[in-house]
């Protein structure tokens, strides 16, 4: 029978299955960071259990780490304790590799996994973090888990779970210039809603997806969770394989050839049935900007802030009204009239080298508007930072008036010092615009790196397609 990519990945990892369809699923890669792991390791210690397969664990500290003054260490004692707890757990329990604070290869867990070749096609990948969906860009079955599940995987190498339904999101045709993977992923969320993918694993397909770079596919899958789907997937192709070749933990020599032969089978079969199909036309997608407090509250840059009065459903209307009040926006305001206070280019959605190149191309030779209080560029990892510096991107940003920082999650969620103050408005390349996400009272608009860069120069949103 024709199988979907999801079916193949699932079938390849079932250890046992109960009558009701609950399966024990074997996990190949376990990514660990400081925020969701301490209680899991503590649970192991209390029960006197061991880690089942130490070499499946790849760990880093990313959420709490500062992005400047690294020589001073981590100032906040609560953050420091959490990072030190991970250091201790790594000493005690071990890992295949650990990139601690200050290591050159440290960075956001979802950036370093692929960068190191620690995420491979055909793997099951878990992490105590919802954006684990990112790794599905490689044809890996990847999903975020909670802390109890982290402990469960550490102790048993397995997850207890039921199979998801499958959704095929097909983006036909070619993307117009200036429109990126970020705009596709936001447009999909806008179309199906932030709960639209709940219970599904999404496979993204179609010409526009095949045309995306592997980094773009990571951006796309990263935000599957913002559509409610725990898993996002893209089939393996030449680009996937080219990206992985030569990476530290990718197989080598004869093993590589064998692996590649297997990876090439990781596509949905012709005629495979999906539970749901959603189709978008790439030509119709424009640069996206969120206006509210949930990623589904999104419009094209040439659009306007919607008027809740037009909404018939009272629950939706009330929700939109609340969001506009929080965001301090009037209905029908043109998006390009929205003025900004801060700019954040970073996060596991958009902090890889291509993102930085795209942003740098927009700002080169220009200067951040004087009304912008802070414009931050935070590379996704130490290696991304080094690469960007070797290309001179750091200078482009610094000359344009941006702050060039050390890697980490940073203002994506503001667990460190990088935060919005109450009332501040930010164009952000991250993934969540929830109330208070970037700092209590902060107002977040999600956009692509090029859109954030253009907004930094103009001081307000502009359509990057005709920005000069």
């Amino acid at each position: 029978m024709a199988r979907t990519l999801y079916d193949k990945l699932w079938d390849g990892h079932v250890v046992r299955e109960e009558q009701d369809g609950t399966a024990l699923l074997y996990i190949d890669r376990h990514l660990v960071h400081e925020v969701t792991s301490p209680q899991a390791y503590e649970g192991l210690a209390i029960a006197g259990r061991k880690v089942w397969r130490v070499d499946s664990v790849v760990a880093t500290a990313d959420h709490n780490t500062p992005t400047k003054d690294w020589d001073k260490g981590i100032q906040d004692p609560v953050s420091r304790l959490q990072v030190e707890t991970l250091d201790d757990n790594m000493k005690k329990y071990g890992a295949k590799v650990y990139f601690p604070f200050l290591d050159k290869r440290q960075g956001i867990v979802h950036v370093i996994g692929p960068e190191q070749g620690a995420t491979l096609p055909g793997m099951t990948v878990v992490c105590g973090d919802s954006h684990t969906s990112t790794h599905g860009a490689f044809g890996a079955l990847a999903f975020g888990i909670g802390t109890s599940e982290v402990e469960h995987v550490l102790a048993t190498q397995c997850m207890v779970m039921q199979k998801s339904k499958t959704m095929h999101v097909v983006v036909e045709g070619r993307l117009p210039t200036g429109v990126t993977a970020k705009d596709i992923t936001l447009a999909v969320i806008g179309k199906i809603g932030s709960g639209g993918g709940t219970g599904y694993a999404i496979e993204y397909a179609g010409e526009a997806i095949r045309e995306l770079s592997v980094e773009g596919r990571m951006t796309l899958c990263n935000m599957a969770i913002e559509a409610g789907a725990r898993t996002g997937l893209v089939a393996v192709d030449d680009k996937t394989i080219a990206y992985l070749e030569g990476r530290t933990f990718a197989p080598k020599g004869e093993q590589w050839d064998k692996a590649v032969a297997y990876w090439r089978t990781l596509t949905s079969d012709e005629g495979a049935k999906f539970d749901k199909v959603v189709t978008l036309k790439a030509e119709e997608i424009k640069p996206q900007v969120t206006w509210g407090t949930n990623p589904q509250m999104v419009v094209a840059v040439d659009g306007k802030v919607p008027d809740p009065a037009q909404e018939k459903d009272p629950v939706q209307r009330e929700w939109a009204e609340r969001a506009l009040k929080y965001m301090a926006l009037a209905p029908n305001t043109p998006i390009t009239d929205i003025k900004l206070d801060k700019i954040f280019i970073g996060s596991c959605t958009n902090s890889r080298i291509e993102d930085l190149r795209a942003a740098a191309a927009v700002v080169k030779g220009k200067h951040v508007a004087s009304s912008i209080k802070l414009a931050l560029v935070v590379p996704g990892s130490g290696l991304v930072k080094t690469q960007a510096e070797s290309e001179g991107l750091d200078k482009v940003f610094i000359e344009a008036g941006f702050d060039w920082r050390q890697p980490g999650c940073s203002m994506c969620l503001g667990m460190n010092d990088d935060q919005l103050l109450a009332g501040e408005r930010c164009a952000s390349t991250s993934n969540r615009n929830f109330e208070g996400r970037q700092g209590p009272g902060g107002r977040t608009h999600l956009v692509s790196p090029a859109m954030a860069a253009a907004a930094a120069i103009a001081g307000h949103f502009v359509d990057v397609r005709n920005f000069k």
Binding site: E18, V35, N294, M415
Partner: protein
């Protein structure tokens, strides 16, 4: 019960990030819905009992004090995978949340911790929310054994829950211990897996 009349309540709202710096599993109750509940900005080391409360937020209204059931709208628990969200709800005193739909990761995290999540049609949820808003002292009787929720007027709504999870909530189980009873099968799978894809183990 407390009617939290909002859709898409995300886990950032349930427990804001600064409280995720804790390395413990307890102590999150006072910071449940922190940004909505207090007028000042909460930090992990604060004594929340002396902080200024937001009188407009529903949990702060005296009539809802001591409630153990929360009713909210669709897609409850969306966003981050933080298990601190169910921890905070439970530690505040909630034992069950009723909504038309829940986000996947939050759903699992809650059941793992014994927080009962009940899915009802939007129509029923709407009725419960309106009735609770309209009548002080509105109480629901939740019977997990019988899988039912009874309103003060005696109206009964049945709900589904998978039998395994029901057992876990009622008796509490050691999920890990249970999985480890299949350790031999896991090892056998691992051996086979390693033969066919040795690069996963190098």
């Amino acid at each position: 019960m407390v009617p939290l009349d909002r859709a898409n309540v995300d886990t950032d709202a349930i427990i804001p990030k600064q409280f995720l710096k804790s390395i413990k599993r307890t102590g999150f109750g006072p910071n449940l819905f922190d940004e909505w509940r207090y007028l000042d900005r909460g930090e992990p080391d604060m004594d929340s009992s002396s902080r200024p409360l937001n009188p407009d937020f529903i949990l702060n209204q005296p009539r809802y004090r001591g409630a153990t059931v929360l009713v909210s709208r669709e897609n409850f628990g969306c966003g981050s995978s933080r298990e601190h969200a169910p921890w905070a709800l439970l530690q505040y005193g909630f034992q069950a949340v009723i909504a038309p739909s829940f986000a996947d990761i939050f759903y699992n995290n809650s059941l793992k911790n014994g927080l009962l999540l009940i899915k009802f049609e939007p129509k029923i949820v709407d009725q419960l929310i309106r009735d609770a808003q309209g009548k002080e002292g509105y109480r629901l009787a939740v019977d997990l054994e019988d899988q039912s929720v009874t309103t003060p007027t005696g109206e009964i709504f049945k709900f589904d829950i998978d039998p395994f999870r029901k057992q876990c909530i009622m008796n509490g189980t050691d999920d890990i211990g249970l999985t480890l009873t299949h350790a031999d099968e896991i090892r056998a799978f691992e051996t086979k897996h390693k033969q066919s894809q040795p690069w996963l183990f190098s």
